[in-house]
C-alpha cells in the first residue's frame, strides 16, 4: 500500500508541475500581455514601459521561476486591477465556490444514486427508460441557459427565490439546481451499470436464496460494491464543478472564484487568472489522488 501511495503521489506531483508550466506559458505566449495591459492605442514605448514594470521583459523561464518560488512561499502576487493580494482575494471567495460545488454534488448524488439503483432493479422497464431519459436530458441542457430559465420562472414569475448573490442559503438554491443537474447523468449511469452487474453476481443470488430482505440486499450488500466507481467519479466531478463554476457564478452573480476568474480575464489581471488556474488544476489532481486512495482502500485488488 505504501509503495502504491508513493508512486501515485509522485505522478500527481509531476502532473501539477507540468500543469503549472502549461498554464503559465499559455497565458504568456498566447499574446503580448504587455500590449493588452497597456490598452488600446498605446505606443511601443508605453508597452515597453508596462512590460518592464511587470517584469514581462525578462526571459520566460525567469518569470516562471519567480512565480513558482512565490507560490511556494504562499505569495500569489498582487492583482493588477485592485492591488489586493491574490491570496487574499481567493481566500475571501473560495467559500462560495466550495459551498456551491458541495451542494451541487450532494444534490446530484441524492438524485442519481437512488434513481440508478431503482433503474437497475428493473432493466428495460418503463422506470429504467424514464431514468435514462432523464440522464439524457441532464446531459443535453446547457447549464447557463437552465440557470437563466430558473431565474425567469422561480425568480421573476413566481418570485419564490432570489436570483443573484451568495449571502444566504436561499440564494444558493437555484445555482445548486443548475449545476447539480450537470453531474447527475454520469453518476446515475454508473450506479445503474454497477448495480446491474452486481445484482447478477453469485453472492447476491446466494443472499436471495438465504432469504435476506430484498431491500437489505439491494442497499446493504449490492450498493456497497456497485458504489466503488461512483466514489472516484464523484471526486472527479467535484474537481470539474470547481472549473465549471465560472459559468454558473457569472449567471447568478455569485462572488466565488469562478466569477473572480471571469472578471480577472476581462481586466487582463493575469496574476489572478494564473493563480485560479493553478488552484483549480491542483484541486482536481488532489481530488483524483484521494479518489484513488479511497478506491484502493475499498478494493484491495486495485493495489496490485
Amino acid at each position: 500500500m505504501r509503495r502504491f501511495i508513493l508512486r501515485r503521489l509522485l505522478v500527481s506531483l509531476l502532473v501539477i508541475l507540468t500543469v503549472s508550466v502549461v498554464g503559465f506559458s499559455l497565458l504568456r505566449l498566447s499574446g503580448n500581455l504587455a500590449a493588452v495591459l497597456a490598452g488600446e492605442g498605446a505606443t511601443p514605448a508605453d508597452i515597453a514601459k508596462v512590460a518592464h514594470e511587470y517584469g514581462l521583459d525578462q526571459p520566460l523561464y525567469l518569470q516562471y521561476v519567480d512565480w513558482v518560488l512565490g507560490l511556494l512561499r504562499g505569495d500569489l502576487g498582487k492583482s493588477l486591477f485592485s492591488g489586493d493580494s491574490v491570496a487574499h482575494l481567493i481566500a475571501t471567495r473560495i467559500g462560495v465556490t466550495l459551498t456551491l460545488a458541495t451542494f451541487s454534488l450532494v444534490l446530484g448524488l441524492v438524485i442519481a444514486i437512488p434513481l440508478g439503483v431503482v433503474a437497475a432493479t428493473r432493466p428495460n422497464s418503463w422506470l429504467d427508460r424514464g431514468a435514462l431519459m432523464l440522464a439524457v436530458f441532464g446531459q443535453a441542457i446547457p447549464g447557463f441557459w437552465f440557470g437563466l430559465i430558473l431565474i425567469y420562472v422561480f425568480g421573476i414569475m413566481l418570485k419564490w427565490l432570489p436570483i443573484s448573490g451568495a449571502d444566504n442559503w436561499r440564494e444558493f438554491v437555484l445555482p445548486t439546481i443548475a449545476l447539480g443537474v450537470s453531474i447527475m447523468p454520469s453518476i446515475m449511469r454508473l450506479t445503474r451499470a454497477g448495480m446491474i452487474e452486481v445484482l447478477s453476481s453469485d453472492y447476491i443470488r446466494a443472499a436471495r436464496a438465504a432469504g435476506l430482505a430484498p431491500l437489505s440486499i439491494l442497499f446493504k450488500h449490492a450498493l456497497r460494491n456497485a458504489i466503488l466507481p461512483v466514489v472516484s467519479v464523484a471526486a472527479v466531478q467535484f474537481g470539474l464543478l470547481l472549473g465549471g463554476s465560472v459559468i454558473i457564478e457569472s449567471v447568478f452573480a455569485m462572488n466565488g472564484i469562478g466569477l473572480l476568474a471571469y472578471q480577472a480575464i476581462g481586466n487582463a489581471d493575469f496574476p489572478v487568472v494564473q493563480a485560479i488556474l493553478i488552484f483549480v488544476s491542483v484541486g482536481y489532481v488532489v481530488l483524483t489522488f484521494l479518489a484513488e486512495l479511497i478506491n484502493a482502500r475499498l478494493d484491495p485488488r486495485i493495489r496490485l
Partner: protein, 299 residues
C-alpha cells in the same frame, strides 16, 4: 425466395455483420429519432444561404423586437420574431446552426486526431512511451477547459478559428483514454501478431491493423464529443469570449437575448431549446450507433 433460403447451408444463412447492424438500426428508436433530428439540423446548416428568409446581419430598425408568430401581434414575416437590432431570429438561428455545428465538428476532428494518435502510440508501445502518453493525458485532464479557453481567447482576441483550435486542443482526452485501452487489448490478438511476424513496421501495424478496428468506437466518441463541444461553445459565446459578435452562434444569440429576458423571453428561450434538442438528438444518435455496432450479444 423463402424456399431457396430454407435449403441453403447454415453458413450462408448466418447474417453478415452489416445485416445485423441494419436490422438492429431499424428497430432502434433512439437512433432513428436522434438521427432524423441531427440530419435535419445538418441540412438546415448546409442550406442556410438558400433557406434563411433574411441575412443574419440584416437589420430592420423599424421592426425591432417583433414578437414571434405564436404571440399576439406576431406575424409570419418574422416567424420567431426579431432581436433588439431588428434582425430576424429565425435567420440568425439558421446561420447559427451552421456556425455552431462547424465549430463543434472541426474541433472534434482535431481532438480525435490528437487523442487517437496519443492513445495508439501509448497503448501499442507500452513501457516508457506509455508513461509519457499517460502523463500527457493526466495533465490534460487537470486543465480546466472553460477557464483556459476564456483566458487564451481574451488575450488573443476572439475569432472562430481560434475557438476551433482551442477547443480541439482541449478536448482530446477521451479519445486518448479509449484508444489507449482498446489498443492495449488488441495488440496481443492474432492478426496483429501475424502482421508483426510478417515484418510489418510499427507504424503499419498501428495505422493499418489496429486503427481500422477502432473505427466504430471512434465514430461513437466523435458523435458524443460534438454534443459536448456544442455546449462548451455555447457557454463560451454566452460569456462573450467565444464567437465574436455579430456572428451568430446559438450561444451568442442567447447572450444577445439575456439582457431582454424579462421583457422578451423568447429571444433566449428559442436558441436554448434548439441547443437542448440538438444535443439530446446527437446523444441519442451516438448511443444508438454504439448499440448497433456493438459485437453480437452486447447490444
Amino acid at each position: 425466395m423463402t424456399a431457396v433460403l430454407d435449403t441453403a447451408p447454415a453458413a450462408v444463412l448466418a447474417p453478415t455483420p452489416r445485416r445485423v447492424m441494419l436490422r438492429r438500426a431499424r428497430s432502434h428508436v433512439g437512433l432513428l429519432v436522434g438521427g432524423a433530428v441531427v440530419l435535419f439540423v445538418l441540412l438546415v446548416a448546409l442550406l442556410a444561404p438558400w433557406i434563411a428568409p433574411y441575412g443574419p446581419y440584416q437589420q430592420d430598425l423599424l421592426k425591432r423586437l417583433a414578437d414571434p408568430v405564436w404571440a399576439a401581434g406576431g406575424s409570419w414575416a418574422h416567424p420567431l420574431g426579431t432581436d433588439a437590432l431588428g434582425r430576424d431570429l429565425l435567420s440568425r438561428m439558421i446561420w447559427g446552426a451552421r456556425i455552431s455545428l462547424t465549430i463543434a465538428i472541426v474541433a472534434s476532428v482535431i481532438a480525435a486526431t490528437i487523442g487517437t494518435l496519443i492513445g495508439l502510440v501509448g497503448g501499442y508501445f507500452g513501457g516508457r512511451v506509455d508513461a509519457v502518453a499517460t502523463w500527457l493525458i493526466n495533465v490534460k485532464l487537470a486543465l480546466p477547459i472553460i477557464l483556459i479557453a476564456l483566458a487564451v481567447i481574451a488575450i488573443v482576441s476572439p475569432s472562430v478559428t481560434l475557438l476551433v483550435l482551442i477547443l480541439g486542443f482541449l478536448t482530446w482526452d477521451r479519445y486518448a483514454l479509449v484508444t489507449r485501452s482498446l489498443t492495449q487489448q488488441m495488440k496481443h490478438r492474432e492478426f496483429v501478431l501475424a502482421a508483426e511476424a510478417a515484418g510489418a513496421s510499427s507504424l503499419y501495424v498501428m495505422l493499418r491493423e489496429i486503427l481500422p478496428n477502432l473505427r466504430d468506437q471512434i465514430i461513437v466518441l466523435v458523435t458524443l464529443e460534438v454534443a459536448i463541444l456544442i455546449l462548451i461553445e455555447a457557454a463560451l459565446s454566452f460569456l462573450g469570449l467565444g464567437v465574436p459578435p455579430p456572428i451568430p452562434s446559438w450561444g451568442s444569440i442567447i447572450a444577445d437575448g439575456r439582457g431582454l429576458m424579462f421583457y422578451k423571453p423568447f429571444l433566449m428561450v428559442v436558441p436554448g431549446l434548439a441547443i437542448f434538442v440538438l444535443v439530446t438528438a446527437i446523444n441519442l444518435f451516438g448511443d444508438g450507433i454504439r448499440d448497433v455496432t456493438a459485437p453480437e450479444g452486447r447490444a
